[in-house]
């Protein structure tokens, strides 16, 4: 547990000192969402109809931006070898890195999302559910993304390969995230959608760190 916190603290410190990643992710999110009213016109009805989908798709793309750096920097400077040789299960170290990734990308996206929802005229009923869906969905993105980041380690043009590998796996999060918000806006219960999102998160929590560890060991052989 101490080692888990130690890795989280180090990755957060690295992210704060380097600064650019979190800022870049949120800026990308905001700018892309802002493009939509320009692209499809300022009509309230149209924007309101697409708001949930636009926010979720954009958040999903934004969280992928910094994913290829998750293990790459450590791989290049030799830190990854030492992390693998830490006297603790590798899954613990990997889970710590995924948590740090979520704290530096998923969390800022969650903070920015309601502001952008106002911009897209989302109905007030959808706001709480939007936050709930993102709170359950974005950690899953970091977890599943971590498997992809470990698999493409050492590959040329890993970033592009990573998107091809990971985007299909993000589809369930997208479907149920948007489903939850649409249900709430139409006055139905969002609970079933959120329960499924929570289920996906629990499954990813249990599987992703170990799958990622196996991929990392393979990359270092």
């Amino acid at each position: 547990m101490n080692r888990f916190l130690e890795v989280v603290r180090r990755d957060l410190r690295l992210a704060l000192r380097q600064g650019s990643d979190s800022v870049m992710v949120v800026t990308f999110f905001v700018l892309t969402v802002v493009l939509f009213p320009f692209g499809i016109g300022p009509e309230v009805n149209v924007l309101e109809r697409v708001s949930a989908g636009v926010l979720m798709v954009t958040a999903l793309l934004a969280s992928m931006l910094s994913l290829d750096r998750l293990f790459q920097a450590d791989y290049e400077d030799g830190s990854l070898e030492l992390l693998v040789l830490t006297p603790a299960p590798l899954g613990v170290v990997v889970a710590a890195k995924m948590l740090a990734h979520w704290l530096t990308t998923g969390l800022p996206l969650m903070v920015a999302a309601p502001v952008l929802a106002v911009l897209l005229h989302m109905q007030a009923e959808g706001f709480a559910i939007l936050l709930a869906a993102m709170a359950l969905g974005t950690p899953t993105l970091s977890l599943i993304g971590g498997i992809g980041a470990a698999l493409v380690l050492g590959a040329r043009r890993g970033g592009v390969l990573l998107s091809l590998l990971i985007l299909p796996l993000y589809v369930p999060v997208l479907i149920f995230g948007v489903g939850a918000i649409d249900a709430a806006v139409q006055g139905m219960s969002a609970k079933p959608h959120l329960m499924i999102l929570a289920g996906i998160l629990v499954a990813a929590l249990a599987l992703a760190p170990w799958a990622s560890s196996a991929a990392l060991r393979q990359a270092l052989e």
């Binding site: 101490n2 080692r3 130690e6 890795v7 180090r10 410190r13 690295l14 000192r17 380097q18 290049e76 400077d77 030799g78 830190s79 070898e81 030492l82 992390l83 693998v84 040789l85 830490t86 006297p87 603790a88 299960p89 270092l220 052989e221």
Partner: protein, 233 residues
């Protein structure tokens, strides 16, 4: 300041019939070694003779194609975490983060290896001192020269004690004074019952070390896949 290391129980680290395959080629085969507390093993041989591969096998980064590594007769595969806890591996890269200071870099690795924070704090200062890095403690990693990075990486050995040190060409980029400091640290480590395995092309003074020529274990011609496979089983 002298490190407050307790003398560990006498132990042996050994390998039997080790073989290593890289890209379908047998790098070495039928390699045996035994190392007791206080012992040192120096790996020699031309480029590509498998010095780094053997060290990576010993560290657990690479699975041997054949053979067993054992600590006190127990196969290390039975408890990889215990093996990791008693091993320090130093590879080609220095694992120094450009935006963290020397002390932060070192402190992180020390606490990760041995999470007793208080002890790590004092040990870090001592380790920096031994490798002449005290005045650089607050300097970010990106400002360091290659030799200073290497010394920061070497300081890891002292910042969190472990009996088995696996060093892959530790003298790269070091000046004469630093090599002297390293020799003193290695001698002290062995005097307190530690073990050292290192590969080198440079002169390094390790009294009483066993020399191992890796090219003695090379297999002359390339094996075809089926034969390589056979060896793996």
């Amino acid at each position: 300041m002298v490190p407050s290391m307790t003398t560990p129980e006498p132990a042996t680290f050994s390998g039997t019939h080790l073989a290593c395959l890289r890209g379908g080629r047998v790098v070495f085969a039928g390699l045996d070694f035994t190392l007791a507390s206080g012992g040192a093993l120096v790996l020699l041989g031309p480029n590509g003779s498998g010095k780094s591969s053997l060290l990576r096998v010993m560290a657990g980064l690479l699975r041997p194609a054949h053979g067993v590594l054992a600590w006190n007769g127990q196969p290390v595969g039975d408890d990889p975490e215990a093996q990791a806890a008693r091993t320090h591996y130093l590879g080609h890269h220095d694992a120094v983060k450009p935006v963290l200071s020397v002390a932060e870099n070192l402190g992180f690795w020390a606490r990760l290896h041995d999470p007793h924070m208080g002890r790590a704090g004092r040990a870090v200062d001592n380790a920096l001192d031994r490798f002449g890095l005290s005045h650089l403690a607050a300097i970010p990693g990106k400002m360091l020269s290659a030799g200073q990075k290497r010394r920061t990486n070497l300081a890891r050995l002292l910042a969190a004690p472990s009996p088995l040190w696996l060093l892959d060409e530790p003298t790269t980029a070091l000046d004469k004074a630093s090599i002297k400091a390293l020799e003193a640290v290695l001698a002290e480590h062995r005097a307190t019952g530690g073990m050292v395995v290192l590969s080198t092309h440079a002169e390094i003074d390790l009294p009483g070390a066993t020399l191992m020529q890796l090219d003695d274990f090379a297999v002359a011609e390339r094996f075809d896949e089926p034969l390589g496979e056979e060896l793996a089983h």
